[in-house]
């Protein structure tokens, strides 16, 4: 496999991603700042989600999320306002 780094196996080395860059700051705000180098070069496709096909991916996102409920507070306020303005027009 193409690499200039010594090849490792994910399972045999059991790398802990958190330890990949020891000097990394641990402050919460900086926690996610960088896409670190992977501690291993390659891993088997069957160990990834890509091997499980698209079924898994289907459940990751919600496409139909519309809200038909008009009984919440915000809707009730808008409804009141519409009624009030409508009534004022008729006066």
């Amino acid at each position: 496999m193409a690499s200039t780094q010594p090849k490792n196996d994910v399972k045999s080395t059991e790398p802990k991603p958190e330890q990949a860059v020891p000097e990394k700051k641990t402050a919460v705000l900086e926690e996610d700042d960088e896409f670190e180098d992977f501690p291993v070069d390659d891993w088997a496709p069957e160990d990834t989600e890509a091997a499980k096909g698209n079924n898994e991916a289907k459940h990751l996102w919600e496409e139909s999320w519309d809200d038909d409920d008009t009984s919440d507070d915000f809707s009730a306020q808008l409804k009141e306002e519409l009624k009030k303005v409508e009534a004022a027009k008729k006066r």
Binding site: A2, E36, F38, T48, E62, D66, D67, D68, Q77, K84
Partner: protein, 539 residues
Amino acid sequence: MSLISEFLGSIRAFVQNQNGDELRNWLQVEPNVAQHYYELGQQLRSSCPANSGNIEKLVEKHLPEEDDVPEGRGSPWPGFNSFMEEYLKYWRDVDFNDIVKLYGRLSDLLISCANALANPTYGIMLLQTSMSLSEALSKLVMSITKEPSLMAQIQGDQTGDEAGEKKSIVELAADIIQKIFTSCLTDRSSTRWQPPKGKKIAVYLFANLTLKLLFACDKSRLAVQMFTNLSTSGPALSLYPASQRVTFLYYLGRFNFDHGHYMRAHWCFEEAYRQCHPQFLKHRRQILIYWIPSNLLLGRFPSQQLLSRPEAAGFADIFIPICAAIRTGNFVAFYQALNGPSRDWLWDRGLYLTLLYRLKSLVWRSFTRKTFLLTWEGATAGSDPNMMTNRAPALNLSDLVTTATYVQKLLEGYNPVVTGNILTLTPPPGGQLKRLMPSEGLIFGNKQPDLDSMESVVAGLVYAGLLNGFIARQQKKFAVEGAKRKGGNAVLAGWPVPYESIMERFREDYEDDLAAADAGEATEPPGEFDDVPGWVRMS
């Protein structure tokens, strides 16, 4: 024998054995090296002062170019010797406390390494060294850009990027690393579609290193040329190890995100996430930070299932309030979700402004939908559900003015108060309305919604495909189209599923491009529907 002669003798042996790993191990440049390197520097300072020409003589003596080189063996070459001269000068002159000088020396050293690497016969043995020197330079540049005083010293009397007279240090460093990238890309040992050989094995290593540097310094736009080169002649990404594939797709996704191509960004992040080993939680988390916003902008929300994964820990607190505000069309909640405790987190990752401006149209979509739900009484007349009328489903723009004005008042600081059964808005204490920033108001700061502005909002939503219908200007209404096709459901017809509309619009644009290419109008054919420039897939 002096340390210098001993050192050069070992280097010669590595060259003869074409041992790239040992060359990298020996040709170190960072401060945390063995004491030998500092002693080497000391000897060089005493025996080879600047302009004495002694370094050149030493290199010529210890690294002679060989004539009859047996197969499988190597020989020093002129480019390599120039690089070695530069390397010895580096250790003679280096002062790790003088960052400005260090930057200059290290840049020169990497340029000369890149030149040596370009040698078609032996250059490849410097691949590992090129990598470690590039890493050292980009690390240094990244730390310099965080120190304004150092930047000022290095840039001196720079007239600015706009003048185009002088490149920034990020650009200069990226240029050098890209030179190495190009050297790898143009290696002819293997074709685009064969397992990589020769210098080609390092194409994506250098691409990723350049991208890491550019993104760390907010200069991602400079990556355009590299992606273009990859599209034109780059080897297929799938031929490379998983770590390189995932890293590359992550940066390509970020590039597309930064440039408003959310569909392409989504494709890149999706593949990066799917190919990332589940054990690398931090990497998967980093991908999610941009993959979730990409999907929000495409009208899709992260599911509970996704948000409950370990790599998404804490993300529900950030994204669920945003999704809830979009879902209900509640602008007050939308601004609260973005300006609350999540603001700094979103801002630091370059997400805040994109979400603030670009998600607003989805909130408007739900808001117009809600106003329609509250005002449209259906096609039936009065209390008899069987008495159908010819009324076409429509949203009165004046009703939208009413609801929008109400929300604008809430944003300006009015408070809803219920007295008896009557709801009124009371002005904020002291009667002083909140002065809204342009981005904080419904239209523009404190500008009040009116018929014209509502018409323009609705027209924008129709144009984006988020609303299905047309504006009847005489009647001052938005008329819903296609209700019959949806079994009389006017809401479903007028407010189609956003993701489907956005996808459809994307497909229409692609088909327009195809048609333009067929008619000979386009300069470049658009390729496949899901092509992402820079992402080379097996054909």
